[in-house]
Structures are given as C-alpha cells and as structure tokens.
C-alpha cells in the first residue's frame, strides 16, 4: 500500500482547518468518502476534494504536500499513524496530539504541539512562537510527548508546559520555558532574554549562557549531576543531534527559580 497523499490543487486564499484529516478518522473511508469530508476555510465550508488531489491508500501514512503553509491544525488530536508535511505549515500543528508521529519538512507557525499529550513531532526547520504551549486563555500547555526542532524556535517556547520534552537543536527566542509547570526543555543553541520567566518547576537544559537571566533566579554553583548522562543517554535512539553528544557531559551550573513564582524550577547551563 502506498501512503495516502493529499496534494493542494492551488494555494488557498485563506488558512484551511484540516483537523478532520487525521489517520484514525480516515482508516475505514474510501477515497470518495475522504473527498467528501467538510473543511472550514475562512467563513466557508469546502469539501476536501475541492482543494486537495487525493492519491494513495494507506491512511496510516498521511502526506500533505503543496502550499502547506496555508494548512492549520494539521494532526489535531491525532493518536495513531504518521503524518508527513512536505513543506512549512500553519499554526496549531499537532495540537492536543496523543500519539503517532508528525514530520514537518519545513517551518511551523505558532502554537505547534500546543497542549500535546503524547507522540512525537519532528520539525526539520524552525518552530514558531509558543511551541508546546497552552492555547490562548488556557492554563496548562504540553502534557506529554516529545518535540524535536532541528532549526530554531520562536519566543515563549514551552509556555506553561506541564510534562514531556522539547529538544531544540538551534536557538530559542525570548522567554523560553516561561511559566513552566514541569517537563524538560533542552536547547543546544543560544537562548534569548529571560529564559524560565515565572517558571514553577521543570528543567531548562542549556549549552550556552542566556543573554539575560531574571533577577529572581538564584545561582547555586557548579555541580556534577549524575542524572545528566542518563538523561542524555535516553535521547540516543532519536534522530537528532542530541543523540551524538559526548557521553562525559555531566557538569552544569545550576540556577533555581523563578523565585517570584513557586521557585522549584531549574536552569542548568552545561559546563563544557
């Protein structure tokens, strides 16, 4: 069986909400039935086959291709299968995802993997602002799963994150890990201003000192932390630069905070 491929016929004028197009919704459907699924774009309702050419027959492997930047909510609440996006995508990719995998061969818009609960999102490009955060107005962001960003990430990465892992190979914007409740964010590149702003618990793992750190973080000195090699070892099986870090890494400078909040979070800056 070949992957079910959805090719955008032409660039939509407005963003398209493709949230109904996830593997578990499509498994028992024939191609005409898939084509009849109603999508919302702007204030219009349109059939899937009016904007997509559909080919292939394995809905467990779903491919979006064409001008995919116009697609919002790719893989919303997805729990099985694999979705590949051959290009950049719009906002809210992988929102509320529970399982399965989404691969994006391009950049993503804001709120990627927001309120994610499980599964894996791999971004071969840059992640937008509010990666793994909560939807606007909500109080709890990402609650499980893993996101790998091979490029850079925007501001407010992991805002109000509760559980799970964000692995960012490039740089992150300002306020990384803001208002974090728990979970792990590892950033290989540089970090913008005020990482961990208002964080309650959780871990920010940095390889470079941030530009500016809030005054409400306490410097706890350098430590050799036994768990760090184990943590990094757990990334070995993944397809990311984090899998190839030297095995000896274990010494880090520890900042505790944000004392203006609960203050049980930590920023670990690895000592080379």
């Amino acid at each position: 069986m070949s992957a079910l491929t959805l090719i955008l016929k032409k660039t939509p004028t407005q963003q398209v909400d493709v949230s109904p197009l996830i593997p578990e919704n499509l498994t028992d459907l024939s191609k005409p039935e898939i084509g009849a699924i109603i999508l919302v774009t702007g204030n219009q309702h349109v059939r899937t086959d009016t904007i997509f050419t559909i080919s292939g027959d394995d809905p467990e492997r779903l491919i979006f291709t064409g001008e995919t930047t116009k697609l919002d909510y790719i893989g919303k609440n997805c729990s099985i299968g694999q979705i590949n996006v051959q290009g950049s995508c719009g906002a809210y990719t992988g929102m509320g995802m529970k399982g399965g995998q989404i691969n994006i061969y391009g950049n993503t818009g804001a709120f990627t993997a927001c309120e994610m609960r499980g599964g894996l999102v791999r971004i071969e490009g840059d992640g937008g602002d509010f990666l793994g955060a909560a939807r606007p107005g909500n109080q709890i962001g990402m609650m499980g799963g893993m996101v790998i960003v091979t490029g850079n990430a925007g501001a407010r990465v992991g805002d109000q994150m509760r559980r799970g892992t964000l692995l960012i190979e490039g740089n992150a914007g300002n306020y990384a890990g803001s208002r974090m409740l728990a979970g792990t964010i590892a950033i290989l590149g540089k970090t913008g201003n005020y990482p961990g702003y208002g964080m309650k618990r959780g871990t920010l793992l940095l390889w470079h000192s941030p530009n500016k750190l809030g005054a409400t973080f306490n410097d706890c000195g350098c430590h050799t932390l036994g768990f760090l090699p184990l943590l990094l070892e757990s990334y070995r099986s993944l397809e990311t630069r984090f899998a190839f870090l030297p095995k000896t890494t274990g010494r880090a400078r520890r900042f505790c905070g944000d004392m203006a909040s609960l203050g049980r979070g930590e920023i670990l800056i690895l000592v080379p």
Partner: protein, 555 residues
Amino acid sequence: MLIKLTGGTVYDPMHGINGEVRDIYIQDGRITDPPNDMPIHQVYSLNNKIVMAGAIDIHSHIGGGNVNIARTLLPEDHWANPLPHTELLRAGSGHIIPSTFATGYRYAEMGYTAVFEPAVLPMNARQAHMEMGDIPLIDKGGYALLGNDDYGLRMLAANKDQKAFNDYVAWILRASQCLGIKVVNPGGINAFKFNQRRLHLDEPGPYYGVTPRQILLRLARALHELDVPHPLHVHGCNLGVPGNLETTLSTIEGIAGLPMHLAHIQFHSYGAEGDRKFSSGAAQIAEAVNRNPNITVDVGQILFGQTVTVSSDSMQQYANHLHAYPKKWAFVDIECDAGCGIVPFKYLDKNFVNALQWTIGLEIFLLVDDPWRVFLTTDHPNGAPFVSYPHLIRLLMDRSFRNDMLATIHPDAARASTLGAITREYSLYEIAVMTRAGAAKLLGLSDRGHLGIGAAADITVYTKQEDKEKMFSKPDYVFKDGELIVRNGEIIKVTWGTTHVVRPEFDNSIEKELSNYFDRYLPMKLGNFKIHDEEMIYFGQGHIQVHPCRERNSS
C-alpha cells in the same frame, strides 16, 4: 399587514384572562381591535395551542464589563460550544456565558422578547449598551449601579438634601440611558477598597461613615420621589453568608414601606442552624415578602452544573474566590464607580451547601403567595445559564418531577428541607404572571407583557404538553413586534429590539458641580460620560423607547 391568530388558548394575566379561546389581530407591530371588512393577510390557526405575551427576564447579566471579562476568563466554554454561522444567523459561541448573538438567539428560541441587564456601571454604560446593541431579536434595558459610587457617597456623607440627591439619581438615569437603579452591597464595595471584608447593614462605612441602610433609604426615596416605575433594585448586604437571613429581614423591615425589589433573594435567605451551620431561611423570607406588599423579589435559582458567577459585589466575590472551579478568577475596580468580580463555579447536587441552595430557591418560589411579586430568574449566569429556564419552570409546575429531583440530591440537604412537603404547583396562569405580566408591571412597561389592544405584538405560542420543560423550551411561534421570528423553536428572521429607558425630570444645574468633580477625579469629561440618543440607534439597529414616570401616587 394584518395577521390573525385564531383559536389559541390565551393566558393574559394583565386582563385576567385565564385560558380562554380568543382571536388576536396584529397590525403594524401592535395588537389591534378586530377589524371591519379589512382583508386579513395571514392566519395562524392555533387550536390546542397556548398563547402568551413574550416573556420578560428582569434580571440577567447579558451585557457590560463583567460579562465580557467572564467570556475572556473561560475560553473553554467557547471552544466547547461553537455556533457556526448560517445563511441567517451570525456565528457565536458559549453556553454558560454566550456571545452576544448567541444570547439573542437562545433567548428568542425560548420565547423571551425582553431581557434586562441589572449591572450597568454608569462609567461603563456606553460599552454595556453597545454590547447589548449587538444582541439581536430581544428588547433590552439596564439598571444603573449606584450606592458605591464615590460622588454619591460624598453627597450622603455631606448630608446633602434629598432634592439634590434626587437630581443626581435622575441625572445618572438619563446619562447612562437606563430603566432603573440598582444597588449592590450598598457601601460594601467601597468599604472593600479600604481593606474591609464585611459591612453590616447598620455599620458605618470606613471612609465616608455612611451606613448601608442610609444608602438604601436615600436611593429608594429618590426613586419614589422621582416616580420611576421600577423600584430600587437591591442586591443586599452579606450575599451568600450563612445567617444572612437576619440582614435580609432587617432590610425588608427597614425600608420604611418604600417600594423595593430584592434581587436573587435565594442567595440572601440562609440561616446558620444545624450541624453544618447552614440552613434554609426560605420560610421566614417568604413570610416577610407575603407580609410586605412593597417588596418584590426575584429568586436567582441555582441549578446544578458548571457556571460562572459575575457580580459587581467584589467584596463577596473575593470571599468566594477560593471555591472557584476551574481555579481562576478576576477582580476589577472601575474608577471608584463600582466593582466587578468573576468567579467560575460548579454547583454539585451531591454537595450539601449547593443542594440546600437549590431547595431554598424552590421553597421561596413556592412559599411566596403572590406570583405578581416573585420572578423567575437564575441571575444568569450566577445561579445557572438562562437556557435552563424551561427546566426550572417544570420544577415549579410538576410536583412529582420536583420530588424525583429532590431524591437525587445530597440526602442531608433533602432531609433539612421542607420542599418535599410543599404541594403547590404553579399553573400556566401563574407562570404567565411571573414571567410576563408581573415583570412588565414591575418595570413600568405599559405596552409589553400583555395581549391587550395597543400592546406591542410580542407573542409566544406553545403547544400544550404534559412535559412542561419540553413545552417551554420550544415554542411553535414567537412574534416580536408583530414579526414572526421563531417557528418550531428555530429562528427564521432576525430583527433588532428596543432599549427601554426612563427619563425623570431633574434640575440640570447639578451638572456644574458634577463637571468639576469629573474634571478633577475621573478619566473622562462629563460631556463624554453622557450617552446620546444617536449612539443608541447606531447603524439603525437600535431604538429607544422612553417610558413615562408614572403619576405620583395620591396615597
């Protein structure tokens, strides 16, 4: 165009019509006399159907700052309840605190044609009116909040004469385009700003030294002397506090016979007896209401489920904020004019206090003898969202259903309540009184709430059914100002209602002193504070109907 409604069973308490088969003629949005030799354009045959005037909700938070903040605070309510746009209807969202369009649609679908917002802060009145202006189909009106405003308290503290105070009250009514005056926790919201957590009825406030009772008396007297039809709309002291029954009784006795409307009385009828120091005071309250013909009440019934409490009573809302579910809340002070507190809440039938609150509300409904003086409200969204009215009506009209529900709540609360022993069942006539005629009479809306000649043709037609919840949730027809807007519970036409206001006479020379006060203390000039008629009829969606202040009672 002449429309004839023929063969319907009419309930029109204003004219004492109790279930008589009558014909009704509608012309140009009004109910008219049977015409001679005029062609009838449309005939609706209403055999076995019940005809009532459009329902009126006298106390429901549908517009203004607090509602908007509640919407912002509860995005989950909007995600879970989307209302997609159709050819006819605009999009919207929300169930417990619906967006403006959804509010109008849901009310009209239930046969309501007029709804009154009880908390219009004069400082925010423009925003409240614009928001209500976005609510289609129904008529609107507001009660302006006084009693915690800095200027009014200054006047009382300086012991200004009643005439000057009357002028101020009338000026506020005019400037904020409102139909009545409401007071919320008199003096208490102001006291909260001075770090006080409780203010009793006869306790002088911390800065101005004015007691809540003085505020109530001065305002009630002002409205009486200005001949404003709607009496002072009171949200009393100590809302929700066990034992507040005494405060409420004292408020009723102490108003010196002046007309007064007590809002959401259920929240003010708690005793402090029993193991849990929480008991029902419904019997005493109902007795006091029965004994004092100057008092009217609306109940503010709670119904189980998720809702959000919105109130200007920031003092009491702060006291409740630890019970918030989901755990978030918001408080605002608005330019020393009034307060605002938003606390989401979930009423649980297995919770003793909530279950007892439920029985207290129903007891008050059933123990107040005169349906002209008790009104059907849930204090939307505080007690429950307004869409649960049909359920509430069934609870009142169907004793066996009520007892079935009583059997499901917390057993101690059911045991502590006398509800099971009350046999009264509301009749259709009494429901028509409390939701139509009585409400229109209390508000001074002479051409609404009845089906007499000359009345506005706001008419609701139901199919007679044993299940009253089904009957009242889906009317067959709803006419608004003579136009058919709902058929079989679905909206078929969208019109725009009227804003009801009163404009008592006053001496305009008070503007000089007010203007100085505005310039010195407030963020806007007096000229901007006043809302002009042109703003109300913006884009032709709105209309204003000015109701006369009635002739002074000769008694």
